[in-house]
């Protein structure tokens, strides 16, 4: 067991898989010699050499296209898209190529690759470098989508993503890079498609992802200590596949649902989850399911404004309290 930052967990996760399988290769902008702009790939170039860890031009379409071509023909590439906002410049690969080719070819072509990308806000980078765009990928059939919240999950889910025979979009949260957590020694391999109850509770279910997980947990603590409300917090972890069993099971026990989404409101992942629960667990619900999201705005750069935009511990707690009438 060691204490590791989320950032170092990325390095360890990639290194674990590159050590295991010589077909795992890694490419991206400034990821090799420079060790990545978030320093989340430091040392990989030294450890695995310039043939396996490759710096690319600023050509996101070429990066993802090359990853796909390599994946189709036998390699297992990990591609970095530095900021998840840049998925917009290479979205054709995400939406039209990775996701559809297996289906269109009736299973002839397989595309085992991982796109890892720095997602989310809280770092004062402004509207084009701070978005939470998990839903951009979740909405596309054919992709898998994960977003770990802890160093341990980073390693385990990275391993699961690399070993998965499908294209997986792996959202690392930029604001979590410096955070720390305990990580067991040795190989860690997790499972895609499993949510985690990170805090059991009986009064309400709070679904959260990535940076919103620690905030939801803190809000749950606050609700407990200040209002005696006992919330269950579920770290969704994987949007596709989605662990609806854990989620529906939790709602069946607590009878209330809250989602805490960093994405702007419209068509966020919480909308999908609410629609599932509202349909399939309608009679379990004792009150309206509530979404707590960033307002439907681009993110501001200013620290003061950005802090108001993202769901905060206070806002989460207050919204839950108000809904539960406490």
């Amino acid at each position: 067991m060691a204490e590791l930052t989320y950032r170092d967990a990325v390095i360890r996760g990639i290194a674990q898989e590159m050590t295991r399988d010589p077909d795992v290769v890694f490419l991206g902008e400034d990821v090799g010699k420079p060790g990545g702009v978030f320093k989340a790939t430091v040392g990989l170039y030294e450890q695995f050499g310039p043939v396996r860890v490759r710096d690319t031009p600023i050509s996101e379409q070429a990066i993802l296209g090359a990853a796909m071509g390599a994946a189709m023909t036998g390699l297992k590439p990990i591609a970095e898209i530095m900021f998840s906002d840049f998925i917009a410049v290479c979205f054709d690969y995400i939406a039209n190529e990775f996701a559809k080719t297996r289906y269109m070819t009736n299973g002839q072509v397989k595309i085992p690759l991982v796109v890892r990308t720095g997602n989310g806000g809280g770092v004062r980078f402004g509207a084009q470098h701070s978005q939470s765009v998990e839903n951009w990928c979740m909405m596309i059939p054919g992709l898998k989508v994960v977003a770990p919240s802890s160093p341990r999950d980073v390693i385990g889910l990275m391993a699961a993503a690399v070993r998965d025979p499908n294209p997986v979009i792996f959202f690392e949260h930029k604001a979590l890079y410096p955070t720390k957590g305990d990580v067991p020694d040795g190989e860690i391999v997790d499972t895609l498609g499993s949510a985690k109850i990170v805090r059991p509770g009986k009064d309400a279910t709070i679904l959260a992802l990535a940076l919103m997980v620690p905030r939801a947990l803190a809000a749950a603590d606050k609700l407990k200590s200040e209002h005696g409300i006992d919330c269950e917090v579920v770290d969704v972890r994987s949007l596709v596949p989605l662990d609806t069993q854990t989620i529906l099971g939790s709602v069946a026990r607590t009878h209330r649902l809250f989602t805490v989404e960093e994405n702007p409101r419209l068509c966020g992942w919480g909308a999908e989850l609410v629609s599932i629960v509202a349909d399939e667990a309608f009679y379990d619900l004792d009150g309206p399911p509530v979404r707590i999201t960033t307002p439907h705005i681009p993110l501001p750069a200013s620290d003061a404004l950005e802090d108001m935009a993202l769901p905060s511990v206070e806002r989460i707690a207050e919204r839950v309290r108000r809904s539960l009438g406490a």
Partner: protein, 343 residues
Amino acid sequence: MAKIEDRTLASNTGGNDDIGEEKRLSMYRTQVVIREAEQRAFDLFLQNLVKGTSHLSIGQEAVAAGFATAMRPGDLSFCTYRGHAHTLARGVPIAKVLGELMQRDIGLMRGKGGSMHLTSVDHGVMGSYAIVGAHLPIACGAAWRAQYKGRKDVSVCFFGDGTTNIGAFHEALNFAAVWKLPVVFVCENNLYMEYTPIGDVTAVPHPAADRAASYGLPRTVIDGNDADVVYRTAMSAYDKARAGGGPSLIECLTYRHSGHSRADPAKYRPEGELEKWKGRDPIRLYRERLKQFGIGEDVIVRIETDVKRRVDEATEQCKAAPPPPADILTTDVYADGGFAWRN
């Protein structure tokens, strides 16, 4: 163009030249297969048996035949929606191609992909891509794998003149050049993007060749209607790629005799243009070439008759084939064979 062609003919003084009779007959057969199968596709469309869209290569057969004939097994083709020709040229059975266009269960992808996405991994046809430009970076990736694994196969990527104006073209060419990838980019310049003449929307006269220098590559424009020229150009590009010399970019001048897609009557053509190009029909041209090399009319006719028979047989086979069954609607979205996004 005339000049290129003359040089080519001059250098071919007998059946035992660098290409040889066997390859020539094979290249001729390939061109006839493409022509006959595509003509059939068009007839079937008129009978409402081919549905959706389709994009024919009638008039452009020499490019497909030349590049495919020069390939080795294991070499990989990456095509566009206008990919029937390249798919057939790699030896994919006609019934599998027509079957896909006719949306039958015996089609290459059992009707799931359709005309624009012909793929046959067994034949090295790694897909037909319908988003202009998207497959150029993908071909780079396949070539990267070859380089990484120390394999000698080449990735060959076909696209049109119009494709040279989209961003992915630029990214792929630079990427391939910097990484010295064994990939050959083949621009089939048929003078039009969809309905717009390429010259109206491109800053240079030769949309691919005039950009080669941007990637440190030599300028190459060839007569795309002469299968021998195409074959030789392909061979030298493949040799260079296999030897670690990196990518090539080849612009083939050619022309499509029909419209852009089945919906297009191609009224935008200046008068006489089609006729001029029909005068340079690659198949007629190659038929003459065979005769110049002393191959008998009977041998040629035997090929033509055989191909026609095969196309007829394939047509009947497809007509008799059922549509895809309902249960494949949701298969192969994910690698587990299904489409489950939840537990």
